[in-house]
Every structure is written in C-alpha cells, then in structure tokens.
Symmetry: none
Subunit: 230 residues, 2 copies
DNA sequence: GGGCTGTGTTCGGATTCGGTAAGAAGACCC
DNA sequence: GGGTCTTCTTACCGAATCCGAACACAGCCC
C-alpha cells in the first residue's frame, strides 16, 4: 500500500474508492511525495499514528470510521498533522472546516488532482511557516475575518455571511491590495472545476458589500477584478 | 489536419464530429494556438505521444479508444500534459473529473467555444505553476508599477490608470529600454484577437503620459514604436 | 523653406463593464 | 409538503472606457 519515494515526506491517503486512491497516489508521487493508502477508517487512524505522515488526505465518507472522526481523534491526542478532506458535496463544507474539526483545507468532488496537489503544497507551506500554528484573524480597516471560526465583524459587530460569501471575503483579505480576476476568484473560492459564470462573482461581491455596509473593504478594479483595500 | 500557427503552442483536439472539431479549431487558432485534430481514439493517443502538445482536448465518446482511456494511458506513461474533456451529459461529470481520471477540467456539450478557450488558458496557467505568488513592483525613474495591486505611483503620488493604460505601461516597463512596435503592443496588451487600429496605441500612450505628467517614462522612437526609459 | 511622413491631441459616438434587482432551482429543516 | 435559505442566472441601466477619425504639429529629406 505504500509507494516510497519520500523526498518531500510521506502523505497518508485514506480513501475507499480504489480508482480515486490510485489517482491521488499517482499525482502525489509524481510530485515527489511518498504515499501510503488505507481503505478504511480504523486502519487509517492506526496508520496515521504509526507512520507520522507530513499530511493526511481523508475522505469524509469512509467505512469503519469517518474521516472527520479520524481527524478529531488525532487532534485530541495532540497530533496537529495537516489534514485535507475530500468532500462529496459543498454542503458538508460548513461543518467540516474549522467548526467541528481542525481541518486545514478541503477539496470538493469532483476535483482536479492538480488542485489537490496544489492545496497540499499550500498547506505544508503554511504549516512550515509562522510558528503560531493557529490561523490568525485578519484585520483590514474596520473589518476582521477569523478563518478559524469562520466569523466576520465590521466595527466590532458580528456579520452573518454565508459559506460562499465568507470564502470570497477571506480570500480577498488574505492578500490585501492584491487584485484578483474573476477567474482567479472562481478557481480559489468555487473550485477549479466550477462552472459558474463570472457574473456570479459580482453578485456575491455585492452581497458581501451589502452585509458589511459602510465598512466595506472590497474595491472594484474595472476591467480586471476585485481587491480588498490595503 | 494541423493548422500551424503556434505562437502559444500546439493543442491536440480529438473529436470525431467534424462540425465540432472545426469549430474548436477555429476558435483555438483565432486565439493564437496551433491546432492538430484527430478523429479517433488510437490516432489521438499516437498524436499526443508524437506531437507533445501543450494541452489536449478530448471527447469522451470516441471511436477506437475513449478519451478517458487516452488520458489514463498518458498518465501511466508519465505524460502530464493538461487534459480537458468534452462530455455530453452532466451525469458523466462526477465520474470524469478527478474521480477516475487525471483530468484537469471538463466542458459539457453543448458548450460555448469561448468557454473552452477560457478554460484552456486557465489550465495552462495553472500547469505553468503558481504565477510567482508575489510579483515585485517595478521602479523606473520616478515611476513605480506594482503588477499585483495594479497600482502606479509617480514621485510617490498614486496615479489612477484605467485597465488598458495600466497594462500598456506595465508591459513597457517590464523591459526597460526595449522598443516595442505598435503591433507588438497591440498583441501583448490588447490580445491576439485584437482588431484595433495601431493609432489606438498612440492615443493610449498620450493618455498615460498625461496622467504621469512630468514623471513620464515613455519615449517615442520615431518610425518604430515606444519604449520605457532605461 | 517646402513637401512629406509620422506623431500628438482632442472629442463624440459606440461599446463594454459593473451594480442591482428579481426570479428559478435546489437543498435543508421542520 | 411547505417554508426558508443559499446559490446561480438573467435582464436592465447608468457610467466608465475605448476607439477611430480628424486635425495640428514636429521631424526629416531635398
């Protein structure tokens, strides 16, 4: 089950669908990772403890033990290995990220394997970065975004955003001043294989602006895209 | 079968329906891609190996060898050329992307050729790796250009440029001293399919100069084109 | 200086772009 | 099954922007 080639470390993949597991293994090993695959939840948890991988890719729906459960048990035991979830539907995302679990990222099916690799690299970069470990809230002008709690405040007042709206705002504020094209935002927030029209971005931006009111932080760059004020 | 014009590289299209193939060829070549078309699966696979295209557009349902199969064989052979699938029905999508295959994106029929081109560009951009993440601001004389923020300052004072004006200035300043002809600038800033007259460049140069004022950086090379001061 | 070519500048119509509202589709909860 | 919430699409409108023509001007050659 293990493809050893760990120039970049060993990644644990827990996925019961063989075709998906093979694909993920293919792409990860191509990228220089060692890969170890388990097919059910309990074996996955055991492998995580035994092998000490640099990161875990967990399907949510697993026989034996759900991916979420694996993550939670790891965290309880003080294991903060980066975890990326594979989720079947967007709906699961809210529960998944940050709320119940210490997940670091997630990828929704159908996903491009390239995307998974890209996110894995990003997660590892992040984990290696600031020693703080915990994601810091981002403050910009009168707006604060807390990626951990997925909460937003404007002038200290909590603002209720939907999942998509939050991801959009958080992504813009992750790099203040940086201008993102609509395509970039679609890729980052909606996912690589998203097939929404680019005007969809506009509508969601408008929604976020309305909810933030006068504290709004999103600036339009005509002919290009959007950016968070810096 | 091959339309050679590959300023942007060669794209392999495998599609048995001639009308669709022609349409795709038309749009891709208009966008500056070279296009090679094959009509059945085995020939497609052979062409992919022989021609080493920058990307493949594969119909799923193909005589001889399914598009999915072509993709899988390429991957197995260590060929990671980006692949976009053409799928007839939405239902196939779940199975298609990432699940069974190493596809990078997909387009469902009936599709807009524009969308296909847009997705192809996105995929190539992605495959080229992260765009450097943080682009460094360019300083030349009294003018600073920050590609990330799409902001310009002259003597430290922010200057408001429109999208086209910014792209023009940024392109000139990306290679200080290099003289660009009007045609080159049209191609680079306006795009390959630009049908604007070359005098349009003059007008925009004038506009940029006016906004930069005394700090202006653009020099005219009579009979040739424009350059940023070096 | 006189022509000639190439460039600067101005300006209005045409086009494109983004904000907004309204509604359809789907998921979820009760 | 009805109601609610979220997401995505579409249509419309005002405004920013672009384009190209027209004209004025500057440099080059004789």
């Amino acid at each position: 089950m293990t493809a050893e080639n760990p120039q970049r470390g060993l990644v644990l993949v827990v996925e019961d669908e063989p075709s998906i597991a093979d694909l993920v293994r293919l792409y990860l090993s191509r990228d220089g990772f060692g890969v170890h695959v388990e097919r059910d939840g309990s074996a996955g948890l055991a492998a995580a403890r035994r092998l000490r991988p640099v990161a875990c890719v967990l399907d949510i729906a697993l026989p034996g033990l759900a991916g979420t459960e694996i993550c939670r048990r790891l965290r309880e035991a003080g294991d903060w290995t980066p975890v990326i979830f594979l989720t079947a539907r967007d709906d699961e995302v809210d529960r998944v990220v940050g709320l119940e679990l210490g997940a670091d990222d997630y990828v929704t099916k159908p996903f491009s394997p390239r995307e998974l690799v890209a996110r894995l690299r990003a997660v590892l970069r992040r984990a290696a970065g600031p020693p703080g470990g915990v994601a810091q809230p981002v403050v910009l002008g009168r707006v604060t975004v807390d990626p951990d709690r997925r909460s937003v405040t404007a002038d200290g007042v909590p603002v209720q955003l939907t999942s998509t709206e939050f991801d959009l705002l958080a992504h813009l504020m992750s790099r203040p001043g940086r201008v993102f094209s609509r395509e970039e935002l679609l890729a980052a927030v909606w996912g690589y294989a998203a097939h929404a029209g680019t005007r969809t971005v506009d509508v969601h931006v408008a929604q976020v602006r309305a909810k933030l009111g006068a504290a709004s932080v999103i600036r339009t760059h005509r002919g290009v895209g959007y950016a968070a004020d810096g």
